[in-house]
Symmetry: C2
Subunit: 306 residues, 2 copies
């Protein structure tokens, strides 16, 4: 294979690249589906990869679903996938708090019910999930009762995010020994038709600004997501391909972990974005240049069927 | 007067400095009051300054009150103050939108009822004030009905800040011609006993992160706050003193506008903070070094009574 980067993956090169790897990591949104619709051909690609003996995993920064919810969605869309092949930030944050932080105590959670479930599954209790409306005056907010067992603030996607939650997080985080963890820094969730809604990165920025502290984030491009997969399945990083639609998260994760990287154009980033990073001459941005790109992961189909 | 900065203002120097100015601008919180309590001696200082023929003005980044609400609070605390001497960011934002932006259209307001009132007082309609809870799914949020008359998003302090408000702001701000204005960037509102609650800067950061755009901010240290005073009262900046408790807003505003500056230690910043800026050798940070400091503005009393 040539040493040049950002090569279009087609023809004989597809087979060559697939033969060079044992494991393939897929981002989900913008890669295997968009919203509730599978990318045409994606299920066939995943199922054939597995049939051909590849290990396939899913690594997503989206914190709004448990592993089981992802597996159920995938099954509905025709993917032959099991729960333990899915690594979302709801699950990975729970693993991070338990195994890396060795958290002993509760979490103040700005996040979803799915995050609550993944935390509870590893024995971590939380407080905070659900709506939290404001009442009283500033001095009441500053003196809001805190749960003395809370030893970490965790910020994930939360459609009930509110000023009161921001305030509660600030009050917990002024305690020096309170851990501060975010699921990811994605600023927007892209939807159909070029639309988008605010992502977890916006909520995390607000909490970081209030607390005057930086959160440790678990999601891509942090290597922890890959470590999580590798520690459970013994992945050889030199024979592993990361497939994603975002240069700043997916491709950067691959670069950070020494994986081969493939950009698919069914989501956020474009080839022009990748080329701009390549030409920038900035070392950090080189990590956002993929080895290869495809229009869609369906472009892998002929090599898998042949 | 000596050319050195960050000099303690006491003894004969107080009279000398006061004689060198015709106008005195005061920040409010941490300077003339803390919460609902006047700083001891503050009312006497203000009233004597005015009795001695000085013009006195109040410039506050706090957007939660109208000019009238401030004047009423001041009167209750014993200050001899009229509404037109008060320049809060609720009022100044309305002036900015009307006179600088020449806004023709409505505002989507993340802010208080006071901001709504100040906007309406200059003939600008708003939508958005009050609670805005979430319902539906992501695609519903992305397609939330927008008011076609809205031509600006304005972010001030809003205890009802929510994910849905953040989302609405994002949807408006994806329209290229939509203006984006923030009242101020203060990250915290300090309260009694070292406590604090999240400030407007946190909310603004969240909206800026979602919109991938920078807001124009009206409040200190932006010179617009001073321009507002100067355009209405003909203030000579060389004979004007800015008194505040924050280096990054109050003292910086004074430096930006060529005013004399006085730090009072009854609020956020310390002499050590000022000295650190002075020693930094960083040009931008020199603007945060005050000419003088006092323990409290009550230190001005003897010179005014004498």
């Amino acid at each position: 294979m040539s040493g040049s980067k950002c090569t279009r993956l087609s023809g004989a090169l597809v087979k060559q690249v697939l033969e060079s790897v044992d494991s393939v990591l897929f981002d989900c949104d913008g890669v295997i589906w968009r919203g509730d619709q599978a990318i045409p051909g994606a299920a066939e690609v995943i199922n054939l990869l597995k049939k051909n003996g590849k290990k396939v995993f899913f690594v997503t920064n989206n914190s709004s679903k448990t592993r089981k919810m992802y597996a159920d969605k995938m099954t509905t869309l025709g993917f032959n996938v099991t729960e333990d092949e899915v690594f979302g930030t709801a699950y990975c944050s729970a693993m991070y708090l338990k195994n890396v932080c060795k958290l002993e105590g509760k979490v103040y959670l700005i996040g979803s019910n799915a995050m609550k479930q993944e935390l509870e599954a590893v024995g971590i209790q939380q407080t905070g999930v659900g709506p939290d409306h404001i009442s009283g005056k500033q001095i009441d907010w500053a003196n809001v009762p805190l749960d003395p067992e809370v030893k970490a603030v965790v910020v994930g996607f939360d459609e009930h995010f509110s000023y009161m939650k921001l305030n509660r997080a600030l009050q917990y985080l002024t305690q020096q020994d309170c851990l501060f963890v975010g699921t990811n820094r994605d600023t927007r969730l892209p939807l159909e038709g070029g639309k988008a809604v605010p992502g977890t990165g916006c909520l995390l920025q607000a909490v970081e600004t209030a607390a005057q502290r930086q959160a440790q984030t678990v999601g891509k491009p942090n290597h922890f997501m890959f470590d999580c997969v590798a520690s459970q399945f013994g992945v050889d990083r030199e024979r592993c391909l990361m497939v994603g639609d975002r240069l700043d998260t997916d491709i950067m994760l691959g670069s950070n972990c020494g994986l081969k990287t493939l950009l698919t154009l069914t989501g956020v980033s474009t080839v022009a974005d990748a080329e701009a990073h390549q030409k920038s001459g900035c070392a950090e941005k080189q990590g956002m240049v993929p080895d290869y790109y495809v229009e869609s992961i369906a472009d892998l189909l002929p090599a898998l069927q042949g």
